[in-house]
């Protein structure tokens, strides 16, 4: 989140990319893109390109981490060194990717019915190939689909979206520019049937009324994202032929 700037994020009621306040960027989801993994998905959201692979339940390594009562959910979120338009960055984890791995894992710990698989671990691997603002919400959206594809029992599906403040206006699904120069950013993940908040983070300044409005907007946004997830899974399970994957 940046500070003040001269950039006008909202002109004549439209955002810099022509969208309305509650319009999502183009969102495309494909299922089963990595045949070796137990489950996988690919999400193209605005300029974000994210691939997710799931393994498990499988042997817990190291053994002493294992719980005799339930599976451990593990998550690794990583950005590729070529994911930003700017310089090539260092390979490997950063403090940011470490934090995101944790909050994403904690979202799914609520959903996975882990008691069915004691002494095991479930691995969620998220790789951001191309980043364009909102990678963590795109990652959760991808991981939910990959877990479903892997047949890992879950209590619900989850979708995620970010609400931000551009100027004094709330807007859904911030693009990179809005993310950098807006006044607040609130990524949020909401489970589909139960409406539970499984991830929420926020920076910037919002009044309580703005938070309420943002939550309402987020619910509507998550419903739209869920439609795309459902459609992707239905397409995958209804077709019998393997189509050539266009990345």
């Amino acid at each position: 989140m940046g500070g003040k700037s001269d950039i006008q994020l909202i002109v004549n009621g439209k955002r810099t990319d022509g969208r309305g306040m509650e319009d999502l960027r183009d969102l495309r989801i494909e299922v089963g893109v990595l045949p070796e993994a137990d489950g996988s998905s690919y999400v193209q959201w605005g300029g974000n390109k994210i691939v997710c692979g799931v393994y498990g339940p499988r042997e817990c390594i190291p053994r002493h981490d294992a719980s005799p009562y339930h599976a451990l959910v593990k998550c690794r979120y990583m950005m590729s060194p070529f994911s930003s338009l700017e310089e090539h960055s260092r390979s490997g984890p950063s403090r940011r990717s470490n934090e995101l791995s944790k909050v994403i894992r904690e979202a799914f710990e609520n959903l996975v019915i882990a008691e069915k698989f004691p002494n095991t671990q479930i691995d969620i691997y998220i790789d951001v190939l191309q980043a364009d603002g909102g990678t963590r919400t795109a990652s959760i959206t991808a991981a939910a689909v990959a877990l479903a594809n892997a047949g890992i029992p879950m209590k619900d599906m989850v979708a995620a979206v970010a609400v931000g403040k551009a100027g004094e206006t709330l807007a859904l699904d911030l693009n990179k520019l809005e993310d950098n120069f807006g006044q607040s950013d609130m990524p949020i993940a909401i489970s589909h049937r139960d409406r539970k908040i499984l991830l929420v983070q926020m920076d910037g300044l919002l009044t309580k009324d703005q938070v309420i409005e943002a939550l309402d907007m987020a619910e509507r946004g998550c419903d739209k994202v869920h439609e795309v997830q459902a459609d992707a899974l239905k397409r995958f399970y209804e077709k019998g032929e393997k189509e050539k994957m266009q990345w």
């Binding site: 893109v33 990595l34 045949p35 070796e36 993994a37 996988s40 300029g47 390109k49 691939v51 997710c52 692979g53 799931v54 393994y55 499988r58 690794r76 590729s80 060194p81 070529f82 994911s83 930003s84 338009l85 700017e86 310089e87 090539h88 390979s91 490997g92 691995d123 691997y125 790789d127 190939l129 191309q130 980043a131 050539k244 266009q246 990345w247």
Partner: protein, 264 residues
Amino acid sequence: MGEEVRDIIMSHIRRDVMGNTLSKGIRFDGRTFGQMRPVTVQRGVITTAEGSAIATIGDTTVLVANKFDVLKPFADRPKEGVLMTNAELLPSASARFEPGPPDENSIEMARVVDRAVRSAECVDVKSFFIEEDKVLGLYMDIYVMNDAGNYTDAASIAAAAALLDTRIPKVENAKIVRGEFTGPLNPKVLPVTTTMIKVGSSWLVDPSREEERVLETKMTIGTTEEHVCAMQKSKGSLSRDELLDLIDIAFKTGNDIRELLKRD
């Protein structure tokens, strides 16, 4: 017991059973010994990079992304740009891959693909000179996304396609102006590797994952239209005559791939 240990114990039995099918001149997936699985190439996948491509051989999927930065040249070649190749085996690509720093297999693959590109001299590093102490550096990142066997050849095909897709960025005041380009990299030759393995007495081109587990000898040969530009023997041993035969196979397979790359 980890999968590695189990594989070693099982490989004798598997090799025996595979030998039964191989003796009929065919492989488990129906291919002949010299046949590659279907190859596809898609260019321009990553728009945050200056060039990229995804190549698939069967289900093996490898992404290569090329990105430029302004860097210091190496001390012994002060007027030349630099090429740096790195490979990651993504943990989602196979149950065998663990997250963490590169292991000996990914390092070997990166170095072999790099060697083929470097020897073929398809990147004109002399043209990357900017001014004293500043040159263009090209990062070639290899991401193995799904490993169904032979990620080395898939990486080299993706690397060649990515070079075809790459554009040189505009440089102003010794800084890169992202999003603006002076022209295509335009590689003059396309180096491609061909990996062959020996199982029993049969040499097989483009090993599937299952075949990799029972191989006794593995040989990777990089070619351009007219030259051998890289060789790497991994496991096992081979005779002089076998090597010369493999070079012939590598030229033929390499030329088929080059046709495909030029077509797209």
